[in-house]
Assembly symmetry: none
Homo-oligomer: 98 residues x 4
DNA sequence: CACTGGAAAATGCCGC
DNA sequence: GCGGCATTTTCCAGTG
């Protein structure tokens, strides 16, 4: 038949409600995170870059290096690596100047 | 200058840590939700359908409000809050007239 | 190794250039669309409302298909293509029963 | 009154249709671009990195440098710059080794 | 020029 | 284990 047994129906309802409860909590946390970024913005931080930092910290050092390496190979193939190198030496300079 | 003031540096650290804390909690909730679906699956429910049910319920919750909002924009744009009926049928007609 | 073979390098260049070409065309179309809205504005239409009309029409085009898809999933999951009516009302009931 | 004059109505219809036509073309281009990436993937390229390359080429050298600088300041504040530096010297090595 | 909302991209999940 | 689909996140254009 095409309807669920009464017990199954109850189970289903419970499960759906529990899931919805969890999703609400998750949504609330998303809002909190968004607020944190806004707070940071209010303090003068660059939100976009801040997100980048959080993302970078999530990735392990190894992953980062791997991805970076592939990128450099491609840029090199396109003759764009010299340009990038200029940016990086600027960074080097910054580090040295501290 | 190329470095943050000590106070800003502390703020930044705090913010990043708070964000990471919140993201962990969020991730834990995602895991809980996934587990709920697995539990349901163990009870014989079709997970894909279950997800669709949850999605549908969410949509029907949200959508009414949205449609209301759209209508309000129309009413506002046309500046005729007391000729609702006419506006609505005009909109219907425009959409239908493809 | 850290460099691409000559052939791969050529391929990469070609692909990147083709993508960039396509993105330019896409950008040009975006500009055309923007111009159309401006033209409409010049003729006295309310651009915001006009955008909403276009969006609504798109949605109503897409949404039917989606709903169809949802229905198909249900039918499939329940393996009862010839008891459609029963399934539909079951779904309605489940959604309504919040 | 709440209905458009016949002429305005015709204009509106035309404009909407023209816009929809343009949006379809735009959508087709998006599909073409997606296909290009898939083609590249078939040839063994890393799509994610490829997208990054295209993005980088779009940004001017100056923009790139500015954004990079802010990022480095934040990473420095978090004591993450040494790590990153290691990655970059790896790149340096690659460049030297060619 | 900050905000909102919509498009595109990245990620995660499920099936095979 | 991978490829496709759905969700989530990120980005960008348009608006006030």
């Amino acid at each position: 038949m095409s309807t669920l047994a009464g017990s199954a129906q109850k189970q289903l309802k419970q499960i759906v409600e529990q899931i919805e409860r969890l999703e609400e909590e998750k949504k609330a946390l998303s809002a909190d995170i968004r607020d944190k970024y806004l707070e940071a913005k209010g303090l003068g931080f660059d939100v976009k870059v801040l997100r980048q930092v959080v993302r970078l910290r999530k990735k392990s050092h190894v992953e980062r290096q791997e991805e970076q390496t592939v990128l450099e190979v491609y840029l090199h193939a396109l003759g764009m690596l010299d340009e990038m190198k200029a940016v990086e030496s600027e960074v080097e300079r910054m580090i040295a100047a501290e």
